[in-house]
């Protein structure tokens, strides 16, 4: 379980994040929506100890992320292209991440090969370094790497952006399959409310760093969100 307590982030006088309490139970598929500047990436960065919050604490499965590095062993993330190593080939990148999570080369191969469809023949066996791949293909590699080694918590920032329609559909299926086992906590942010409502059990709407809505997804959720964003 992930819980945030009194998390806030201020830059000089501007508050970009201000959450009194947020608990995400184990196995939940959690969606974060909001306009630009709502604080989605800041929130994820705080969860990963990439940004130091001005106040508050983040507890990830019993580990205070600012105190200990223990959360790193069961948490994986793909936020942006700073999570890619440009001079590696996709395979080498997977082996690298796999090795850090204690996987053997063969296990990595087996895992990655499941995603043949998702890769659409553009990732594996190519003759390109990650830096030379298109943005969409880079994202595919990054997302799959984040799923390596059965992490308990997976954090993906805007995973659907930059992907072509077929890949988007496949990625949604991958995330749904993953959430079925009820062991993996998945945190996803998106600009596309339709994508999130399709994948996530629970959706939190941020505005200027504050939680505006906290909804358990139902058939009406999409309308509710649309109404909010129209206003």
């Amino acid at each position: 379980m992930i819980s945030l307590k009194n998390i806030s982030k201020k830059y000089s006088k501007q508050t970009v994040l201000d959450i009194t309490a947020l608990d995400i139970p184990e196995g939940q598929t959690f969606g974060l929506v909001g306009n630009n500047g709502a604080g989605k990436t800041t929130l994820f960065s705080c969860l990963l100890d990439l940004i130091k919050p001005t106040t508050g604490r983040v507890i990830n499965n019993g580990v205070d992320v600012m105190e200990s590095e223990g959360w790193k062993s069961f948490t994986a993330a793909f936020l942006d292209d700073t999570f890619l190593i440009g001079y590696l080939m996709p395979e080498e990148y997977f082996y690298f991440i796999g090795e850090l999570r204690g996987l053997k080369k063969k296990e990595v191969d087996e895992f990655v090969n499941q995603f043949e469809d998702f890769f659409h023949g553009e990732i594996l066996g190519g003759k390109k370094y990650l830096r030379d791949l298109s943005k969409g293909n880079q994202k595919k590699a990054g997302v799959v790497a984040a799923l390596l080694g059965e992490p308990k918590v997976v954090i993906l920032d805007e995973p659907f952006a930059n992907l072509d329609p077929s890949t988007q559909i496949r990625l949604k299926q991958i995330l749904k399959d993953l959430s079925k086992n009820k062991k993996t906590t998945i945190l996803v942010s998106s600009h596309d409310i339709q994508d999130v409502t399709e994948v996530c059990e629970r959706i939190v709407l941020l505005e200027k760093g504050k939680i505006i809505k906290d909804i358990n997804t139902s058939p009406e959720t999409l309308k509710e969100l649309e109404a909010y964003f129209k206003a």
Partner: protein, 495 residues
């Protein structure tokens, strides 16, 4: 228009993440520029006298003409590595209502005033005055100057075509080496012909028209070449290499650090920037030769000189450490957030970097021992002591300073690889002082009161002590890294 541009420049400077470091870098850069503005004309003034008096060359001007071919090849190589071609900045101009010919003319025109061309003038003008005062014919010298200048600009525009074409560069290098070898074994002296060629600009100034004709032709050739290349899928396309898998599984014996070592090896092989830095480190291996001319240095009682020579040896084994190591962790700046989220503790990450630097230093020490072995046992002592100190003390200090180095490294450009634009701020300067000053002081004390070998022994022992203190030192370094983590991440995002 110009004012807007200036304003933008100013803003990007003032609003930069590390303005302090930036100011230091700017000061550093201007220091070098001023240095060259003084030293190059001085060279121009002195060349004639030095050649005549110290080297007893009968006609220094003839000698200069003989050596010119090497100067030009050197110029081409330097341009290739350092002078950047303004291609990237062109991209944004493509959709503005500026004519394509105007864009190309601008790019080519700007290079007329590049540093490499200006220093030639700084050298030629005083040289010419000296030559006139030595009763060479002034009007003929003007012709010679024109000829030389045109060739300088030919190399300038040649660089535009050469850029990113390793094959041509290597063939030029190969030709040069073979010319030198043939000359050395006096099989065939090419410079006799090149000398006649360059000297003919002086004897028959009218000949200097020929290279000018070639220059004009080359300019238009490059102009066309560039204009045709102004598409994002041809000339403006980023060069991509064909990727090849590399396993490096033989490194697995290093345990968990091997994971990172493998990546660092790939980094060195695949990133232009990292590669040139390592080359620079290899270059340092030969630093000790600076003191080679004073062969009986160590038997002499000149303590200051002995200390300087020791500094030279210290540097030979530390080339990789100083060149590559001082950019740790900036090498990982492009994916630092990934590193901070992976299932690896900070300590292991830093340790792997330390291992890499130590391996590099051991190899350098070994090679340096080999290279300097002919200078006697004392030289080997000095190299070994320097190597131990580099491993036991300087390795830590470099990593520690790295915690405060917050300038991202652009792995895909070769820019700055040769320059002294290491990210400088007060903390890194303070930390790196003991890297040089302390071992030399230790050596000097030992050398002064006892002997050369005792001096080496003291430095070496300090290094061993440092190696023994590894664990507590690491804990201190990691503390620094942890407290700097967030601001480092933020600074790297500016990439």
């Amino acid at each position: 228009m110009f004012y807007t541009f200036l304003k933008l420049q100013w803003k990007s400077f003032v609003r930069g993440e590390s303005i302090g470091a930036e100011i230091m870098t700017k000061i550093f850069k201007w220091f070098w520029i001023v240095y060259f503005i003084f030293i190059i004309p001085a060279l121009g003034f002195l060349t004639y006298e030095v050649l005549k008096e110290s080297f007893e060359i009968e006609d220094p001007f003839l000698f200069i003409n003989k050596q010119l071919i090497y100067a030009f090849v050197y110029l081409i190589v330097m341009r290739y590595f350092v002078q950047s071609i303004p291609v990237v900045s062109v991209k944004t101009l493509l959709l503005t209502p500026i004519l394509k010919t105007q864009i190309v003319r601008n790019a080519l025109g700007k290079s007329v005033f590049s540093f490499f061309n200006l220093i030639v003038f700084l050298y030629l003008i005083p040289l010419t005055f000296v030559l006139i005062s030595k009763e060479y014919d002034a009007s003929q010298l003007i012709g010679w100057n024109l000829g030389i200048i045109s060739i300088v600009y030919i190399t300038n525009y040649l660089n535009f075509i050469l850029n990113n074409n390793n094959k041509i560069l290597y063939s030029i290098g190969g030709i040069l080496v073979s010319i030198k070898i043939l000359e050395y074994y006096s099989i065939f002296d090419f410079t006799v012909y090149s000398q006649t060629f360059f000297y003919s600009f002086y004897t028959n100034p009218i000949y200097s028209v020929l290279p000018w004709i070639f220059l004009v032709w080359l300019y238009f050739y490059v102009f066309k070449y560039f204009k045709n290349g102004l598409y994002i899928d041809t000339g403006l396309k980023k060069k991509t290499d064909e990727a090849k898998m590399e396993d490096f599984s033989w490194l697995d014996r290093f345990g968990k650090t091997a994971v990172f070592l493998k990546n660092d090896l790939r980094l060195i092989k695949r990133s232009k920037r990292a590669r040139s830095t390592v080359y620079a480190g290899v270059f340092c291996l030969f630093y000790g030769f600076l003191f080679y001319s004073q062969e009986d240095l160590f038997s002499s009682y000149d303590y200051l000189f002995a200390s300087m020579a020791f500094f030279g040896y210290l540097f030979t084994s530390g080339g990789f450490l100083f060149m590559f190591g001082s950019f740790v962790p900036s090498w990982d700046s492009q994916y630092y957030s990934l590193m901070m989220c992976q299932n690896i503790e900070y300590k292991q990450y830093i340790k792997s970097k330390w291992t890499l630097v130590v391996i590099g230093t051991i190899i350098s020490t070994f090679l340096a021992c080999f290279i300097y072995s002919f200078l006697g046992t004392e030289a080997i002592f000095a190299v070994l002591a320097g190597g131990l100190y580099n491993i036991g003390v300087n390795g830590y200090l470099t990593l520690w300073a790295g915690a405060y180095t917050k300038t991202p490294v652009d792995l895909d450009s070769s820019k700055m690889a040769f320059g002294g634009t290491k990210a400088i701020n007060m903390k890194t300067v303070l930390i790196s002082l003991p890297q040089m000053v302390l071992p030399i002081a230790l050596f000097a004390i030992g050398n002064y009161f006892y002997s050369f070998s005792i001096g080496c022994l003291i430095v070496g022992a300090t290094g061993v002590l440092g190696i023994l203190l590894k664990e507590p030192v690491f804990n201190l370094i990691i503390k620094a890294y942890k407290s700097e983590k967030y601001s480092t991440l933020k600074a790297y995002k500016q990439n």
